[in-house]
């Protein structure tokens, strides 16, 4: 990995998506440690569960359906960090 990347998780707080949000954030913390610039959690509404790595939206519940596999997000982080 090169430069640390920022991860943003936008989740529907009205829908009770906190467990999935914390599960994903925890998995990324354990895997990447200090190699991430930040993990930002954004409470929202409207059934949202979006994950952005750097500038790239790597998962959107509206677009892709469901919750992302943490492994897929980790792969995206490696790809974005590698440029």
């Amino acid at each position: 990995m090169n430069a640390p990347v920022r991860v943003r998780i936008t989740y529907c707080a009205e829908c009770g998506y906190e467990p999935q949000t914390l599960e994903l954030a925890g998995a990324l913390m354990r895997e990447f440690g200090t190699r991430l610039a930040a993990i930002e959690l954004i409470p929202w509404s409207d059934g949202t569960f979006d994950v952005r790595v750097g500038d790239k939206l790597v998962h959107s519940m509206m677009r892709d359906g469901g919750f992302p596999d943490p492994t897929d997000v980790a792969i995206a982080i490696h790809e974005v960090a590698a440029g």
Binding site: T10, E14, G16, E40, I42, W44, S45, T48, R52, S60
Partner: protein, 196 residues
């Protein structure tokens, strides 16, 4: 598998459900207390037969938070609904019977007669509410160029804009509530009173 009287009786009463809620209980009570019911709707329901109502729900769901209290108030005001509540994620046998297409939408209200013949089901929210909400949501986004497009991810907005957008969307939901509640009551009334 058909719902039997025995299976129905395994559900929680409406008050038992409220007592075990781990979130949104205060808002749920407020919604039940403040829903505006029309005398004509109550009279029509009071004249109808008594119905058993199976409810599938979860306390974190926004549509359930809005609509289950309406059913609860109708039950209290008319005395015509015997409600039993099941948590969606703990009763797969029931959830699989009341799918909304491919989705496990909630709340589900399934109405049964005395012999447990299903006379109708109501799921999630009225289509009229979905349609008007979509239109009003588009208007909210159009009201301020800082909000961008309704389809754009909100995490790209500056925090202050995001807060303003959230406030505008909440105001829209509050403003729409009388219409939305009225549509829920209308659909329940039609479903219950038109059934044989």
């Amino acid at each position: 598998m058909a719902v039997t009287g025995e299976r129905f009786a395994q559900g929680m009463t409406y008050d038992e459900y409220k007592a075990q809620m781990t979130r949104n209980q205060e808002k749920f009570e407020e919604n039940e207390r403040t829903v505006q019911l029309k005398p004509g709707d109550l009279e029509a329901l009071k004249k109808g037969p008594k119905r058993n109502v199976l409810v599938l729900t979860e306390d974190w769901c926004g549509d359930a938070l809005a609509n289950v209290p309406i059913l609860g108030r109708l039950a209290k005001e008319t005395g015509r609904f015997d409600i039993r509540v099941f948590l969606r994620d703990q009763h797969e046998d029931l959830t699989s019977q009341y799918m909304n297409g491919e989705f496990k939408s909630i709340p589900v209200f399934a109405f049964f007669d005395d012999s447990f013949r299903e006379i109708g089901r109501w799921i999630e929210r009225p289509a009229s509410v979905t349609e008007r909400r979509k239109k009003r949501r588009a208007e909210v986004f159009a009201s301020d160029p800082r909000f961008g497009s309704p389809d754009s991810p909100v995490d790209q907005l500056p925090e202050t804009v995001r807060a303003d957008l959230m406030a505008a969307l909440q105001a829209m939901r509050d403003e729409m509530r009388p219409f939305a509640d009225g549509e829920v009551v209308r659909e329940i009334r039609e479903l219950v009173t038109k059934a044989p």
